[in-house]
Symmetry: C2
Subunit: 308 residues, 2 copies
Amino acid sequence: MSLDRYPRGVLVPALTPFHADLSVDEDRLVAHCRWLLDEGANGLAVFGTTSEANSLSTGERMAALERLIEGGIPPGVLMPGTGCCALPDTVALTRHAAAHDCFGVLMLPPFYYKGVSDDGIFATIAEVIERVGNRRLRIYLYHIPALAGAGFSLPLIERLLTEYPGVVAGLKDSSGDWKNTQALLAAFPGFEVFPGSETYLLDGLRLGGAGCISATANVHVGAIRALVEAWETPAADAMQQQLTAVRAAIEKFPLVAANKAILAELRDASGWAVVRPPLRPLAAEARERLFAALDALRFPLHTPHSMA
Amino acid sequence: MSLDRYPRGVLVPALTPFHADLSVDEDRLVAHCRWLLDEGANGLAVFGTTSEANSLSTGERMAALERLIEGGIPPGVLMPGTGCCALPDTVALTRHAAAHDCFGVLMLPPFYYKGVSDDGIFATIAEVIERVGNRRLRIYLYHIPALAGAGFSLPLIERLLTEYPGVVAGLKDSSGDWKNTQALLAAFPGFEVFPGSETYLLDGLRLGGAGCISATANVHVGAIRALVEAWETPAADAMQQQLTAVRAAIEKFPLVAANKAILAELRDASGWAVVRPPLRPLAAEARERLFAALDALRFPLHTPHSMA
């Protein structure tokens, strides 16, 4: 696939590590993001669902983003999540990301009120774009209706693309509905569609998709990147099969807790398992079942890794 | 009913008026709250769902609360909503409300992540209580599963009452499920249960309920208060019937927009109709249907009112 000036391929919604007192462990976050890039991540969709971003205050999110950049993570690979329930929060986070030269932002629709109209979501995105007023702003729409209770329909996307060409740049499709991803790819050529799981990576790439943004990339981004590089080779289908099996094994468990449990094991660092309420860490019994399933798939759970 | 030292009866989730630029119209908010108290509100559950509180930043919510108190609204009648997705935000708002001597706070569970466990919600509320560390804190749980995607089960409430007696003081039941309200009233005598609609006011009072916290109280709090006063008289059932009919007429429409449209009409102030995205104002045609339905119920839509 052609990697143009914006990151495509595998983008990682980096997990947010916490100290025991539940404050953000910024040092460990920087180290994790650096490791993800070293292992092959094309970009980092920090502060997404998997990052527990909606459990962070806007102040914590801005501080952590600044820390990542100070820590040497290039803003040109960063696509921070900025969509909140409250318009002023979304504006503040988006303005902050654009001011720090992040290549794009991933924008949830407001997610408290249910049954909102396409017109109401359009008005939200339009207000954000007008208020941020940064011509370099690139917005990726975050379609995850099961959590947000609101999403981006095809007519709404068309309206946004017509009104804000170049600004509304793409979409993460976490609907889990491959038919929706297909419809998006067919309807909007050039619009950067990232399925929200590596399960649809190969199918997506074959239809012109931009790659994937996947929670489980936190624990095996190298294998996903390998498929991004090899998708046109005869090995691609077997590689996809293995990725799909690993994903299926992990997503039997709550995704954030499961990913953090795996990282705690990989790093031999129990602090990685800490989640913020309302999420809970994986119970010991679930962890053992998860690890057994991964071992059966020859997932390198016990290989020594360089980073702590 | 006995009104003890905490407000019971009808509590109003006061609408939040906006200027044309979508900033909070604090002057109009103060005037509205004063009018609600003059008309008979027993308390004000400001910054609830009807207040579009989840479309406000924490800074806007704290500034508006301070303005209400400076404007003469007694903190002893105030039960601000403080439950956010992010623990630090919930802690900040709750601490702020307690520091300003509000009699209680109305606490949503974190509402982004779905399928969270009772244990995760318990951990959230417990963290807030421990971090706020104010012995006068009185928390009212906000059970509105259709919007929050998470709620307070009976076993969870029991656990909270056991762990934090006196702190966890009551619950607003916006499930719309009368069987749930009945179960709460039966299970926890003395726990202050407020149905989330005046439709269940009389039934609730007869079973020991604390009153109601209702969106539509924004536009006819006097009539609801009259039933609070008269619920043991022979007139009560007819009064309830009329309240129920008015509520049914209004809730055929999106509640926030409908209430704001009615206030715009009552006050002859079109600015009242402004909502923040993702909500949208009522379309002219819907407004006419709503007003016709209210006229048919002899709802005093065109009576001159004293406040602008």
